[in-house]
């Protein structure tokens, strides 16, 4: 099969040790098999796996990959994946962001960018269409993510370049440092910012001018015109623009699945002080959208009075608002904005940060950690000053912050007594959904290839709404479907939210892909490609020591019944979980220890670029 569009068929490989860059051609077969985005990243990580020992090894590689649909006239085509071995977990890691960064990278003529080696001095990678440079710039040292973006746009005298940068936390190798672009979009999870930091790369700057390759532009336009109209006529379209993901606070609170007080509770009695309506009434000053997205789920919020006055951010989104709000017992939305702004500027993941601070507060409340261990801090729920101080300490690796900066792994090594109250899987802290009421959600967290993140399988709503009586087999099918379709979005370079929130038919993506590439594929055929790659991330993780022992949801899911709300009293049953995990392995074709047939995987994925 010959590709007629969709790809430049070029990978830009930057070698910081040699100080050079080379455009590596990609074959049609490679593009078709791995699709793009996360798919390209996984394959490159797999091929490079034997060349390095730790995520901070100079020979480790970070891949930045938009997809074949990124930047095109279709709903929410602004996604880019960042893929590497995660410093937070030591296993496969990826995180994606919206905005325009991937669009610019594609317009520069590359389907993906891979960076390896380590620059001698703090530098940025400058991709100006075909001209590539590694520019030393020690003046960027210690600067925040947004500051870096401003400085470089000024110095390069171009407001239209796209810049991905790391903050102080990335430089300090905080293991959950993120990468920020376009004034506050973040590839937040799994510590991709620390990988860049370990390579002495403070930013990637891109300017692209090329036409994006599309086989049948007329067809793409027709399909998308209809798609945009469908989204715009959805009954929740305007509400979505107004609140975006902040609307989830009320949903999660009412459904009794909103992490509160370090995942102990599921409802927050002051949720109305931190929900979408509170944001709209007092803080929101504008909307922001990723590239080509009509839904504009981003909010721009400004604190107009009080001690946080003048703090402005793109955000917060649900995860951040929940992790710094209810999860820490904070009922002041302005404080959430402040915490979000600090994390964005330092470049640290808000989910992990909120999660770990919650553990400290509960740890101190229950006597698991002493005041001395926290350097004299007396933390309590809703302790705004303590929270803000801890965020600083993490970014600068000061005091207890130095331990927190190493993520769950670091915390448990120094304070193993916190294990029962630290919600994490494979070393990645749980994101903001309770998993005790829905076993499929627990399975989703437990078997996600990056750790306890909802992006792979967010099945909680479906199970609670219609699947409570489903058999375990059906629930496994649901998890596997999510773990297949959601990564497919990350491979194509589009956002999943039109599908989740406004009922956008996922089959349309197959039609769009066919129009763009000139190769007609059905959704099932695309899903098969995505599903195959789940075997490959698993194989990477198995090689890095992951097995059945790591496929369990956080301890709290089994130990502490839900105290209130519609699912009060519910807790996961160990036997039932063992059963569902066994069914999951069987349906995945993995053995009883959760291992895919490694020889077959090696053979299936031994192809060259």
């Amino acid at each position: 099969m010959k590709l007629k569009g969709g790809y430049f068929k070029k990978l830009l490989l930057v070698d910081l040790d040699k100080g050079n860059a080379e455009a590596v051609p990609l074959s049609d077969e490679f593009c078709l098999k791995y699709v793009g985005g996360r798919g390209f990243g996984i394959k490159l990580i797999w091929d490079n796996l034997n060349n390095f020992k730790s995520p901070f090894d100079p020979q480790s590689m970070i891949i930045v990959a938009p997809g074949p649909l990124t930047g095109l006239y279709l709903p929410a085509s602004g996604k880019t994946s960042f893929v590497s071995i995660s410093p937070a977990t030591g296993i496969y890691g990826d995180s994606n962001m919206g905005g325009s960064f991937g669009v610019e990278l594609r317009q520069a003529g590359y389907d993906a960018l891979a960076i390896k080696g380590r620059a001698k001095k703090l530098s940025y990678v400058w991709i100006d269409d075909d001209e590539i440079a590694i520019v030393e710039h020690e003046g960027l040292k210690g600067k925040g993510c947004l500051e870096v973006e401003g400085i470089l746009k000024n110095e390069l005298k171009d407001n239209h370049v796209s810049i991905a940068s790391i903050g102080i936390a990335g430089e300090n190798l905080v293991r959950f440092a993120c990468i920020s672009a376009d004034w506050g979009r973040n590839a937040g999870r799994t510590g991709m910012g620390a990988v860049l930091g370990s390579k002495n790369i403070k930013a990637i700057v891109v300017r692209g001018s090329k036409d994006l390759p599309v086989y049948d532009l007329k067809k793409l336009k027709e399909l998308s015109d209809v798609s945009f109209e469908k989204l715009k006529s959805h009954k929740y379209f305007e509400f979505w623009q107004q609140q975006g993901l902040m609307s989830v606070i009320d949903y999660a609170n009412e459904s009794g699945i909103m992490p509160t007080h370090n995942f102990k509770d599921v409802q927050f009695d002051r949720a109305d002080k931190v929900n979408g309506y509170e944001m709209q009434a007092r803080y929101k000053i504008g909307d922001t959208a990723c590239f080509a997205c009509p839904m504009a789920c981003g909010n721009i919020c400004l604190v107009k009075e009080g001690k946080y006055s003048g703090t402005v951010i793109e955000g917060p989104e649900y995860e951040t608002a929940c992790m710094f709000g209810p999860n820490l017992g904070v009922d002041n939305f302005a404080c959430i904005i402040k915490a979000n702004a600090l994390c964005d500027d330092f470049g640290i993941d808000t989910i992990t940060t909120g999660n770990l601070i919650g553990v400290l507060i509960e740890g101190q409340e229950t006597g698991l950690i002493s005041e001395e261990e926290l350097g004299g801090m007396k933390l309590k729920w809703g302790d705004e000053e303590g929270i803000i101080q801890l965020i600083h300490q993490i970014a600068y690796r000061e005091g207890i912050g130095n331990t927190l900066a190493d993520g769950s792994g670091g915390v448990l090594e120094k304070m193993p007594q916190l294990k029962p109250i630290l919600s994490q899987v494979k070393g990645l802290e749980q994101s903001a959904y309770d998993a005790r009421a829905a076993i499929s959600m627990a399975l989703g967290f437990a078997t996600s290839d990056i750790g306890a993140h909802h992006a792979r399988a967010w099945t909680v709503a479906k199970e609670l709404e219609m699947g409570k009586e489903w058999s375990l087999e059906q629930k496994v099918d649901l998890v596997i479907y999510h773990q297949t379709v959601r990564p497919l979005f990350d491979m194509l370079g589009v956002c999943r939210l039109p599908w989740i929130e406004l009922g956008f038919d996922e089959h349309t993506y197959a039609e769009l892909y066919s129009a763009v590439t000139g190769i007609t594929l059905t959704l099932d055929e695309l899903l098969k490609k995505s599903n195959n790659l789940y075997d490959l991330t698993r194989a990477i993780n198995v090689k890095l020591g992951i097995g059945k022992k790591d496929d369990y949801p956080p301890e709290r899911c089994f130990s502490t019944p839900i105290p209130s709300g519609p699912h009060a009293g519910k807790v996961l049953n160990r036997e039932e979980y063992e059963k569902i995990l066994a069914i999951y392995y069987q349906k995945r074709g993995w053995d009883e220890n959760g291992r895919p047939d490694m020889r077959s995987v090696s053979k299936r994925f031994s192809d060259k670029m």
Partner: protein, 179 residues
């Protein structure tokens, strides 16, 4: 009736759909860098997103400064005659709004031609930040705001379908003050 393309920057989300649609319609390619509308995002000082559009000035600086008379005004918009244009970029530099653009692939500068009278960017804007309105309605929002803010309006409460409402009015009979 003459219509004007106009922008409400406060509504703009920065999604750049206008740019993509423009490039498809005008040049038949998916390339936001080849659009005649450009979204500027300034952050965080100040915080604003604003699409830059050609205002189709009636006394166009671009036309005035064109040494070869390549800029033609007709039907309420200006276009660049590619035959006459020598691509000296005088128009680009003289537009007070920066609404004339250049791209390495294209030999002459390009600017908005209102898609011949049916601007596609307006249709594509999901936030209604771009409007194509009759010329005489421009400024109407401000005129309206000015009326609503008139300080001497009086209020009377009334109940409609059990709901308390307020009617505001200017009392022509009771006005005492002289200006």
């Amino acid at each position: 009736m003459s219509r004007k393309l106009t922008v409400i920057p406060e509504r703009c989300s920065g999604c750049r759909l206008c740019e993509v649609v423009c490039s498809i319609n005008r040049f038949g390619v998916n390339n936001p860098k080849k659009s005649s509308i450009r979204v500027m995002v300034l952050y965080p000082h100040p915080v604003i997103r604003m699409p830059i559009i050609c205002r189709q000035c009636k006394v166009p600086k671009c036309r005035e400064n064109c040494p070869t008379d390549a800029i033609i005004s007709k039907d309420g918009y200006c276009t660049i005659d590619e035959e006459k244009c020598i691509s000296c970029q005088q128009c680009v530099m003289s537009c007070p709004f920066g609404a004339i653009f250049l791209h390495g692939d294209i030999s002459v500068p390009f600017k908005c031609n209102l898609c011949g009278g049916d601007p596609q960017c307006v249709k594509s804007c999901p936030k209604k930040a771009l409007l194509f309105v009759p010329e005489h309605t421009l400024g109407q929002t401000h005129r309206m705001a000015s009326v609503l803010k008139y300080t001497k309006m009086k209020e009377v409460e009334y109940v409609e379908k059990g709901e308390k409402k307020i009617l505001r009015y200017a009392d022509g009979e009771r006005i005492k003050e002289e200006r």
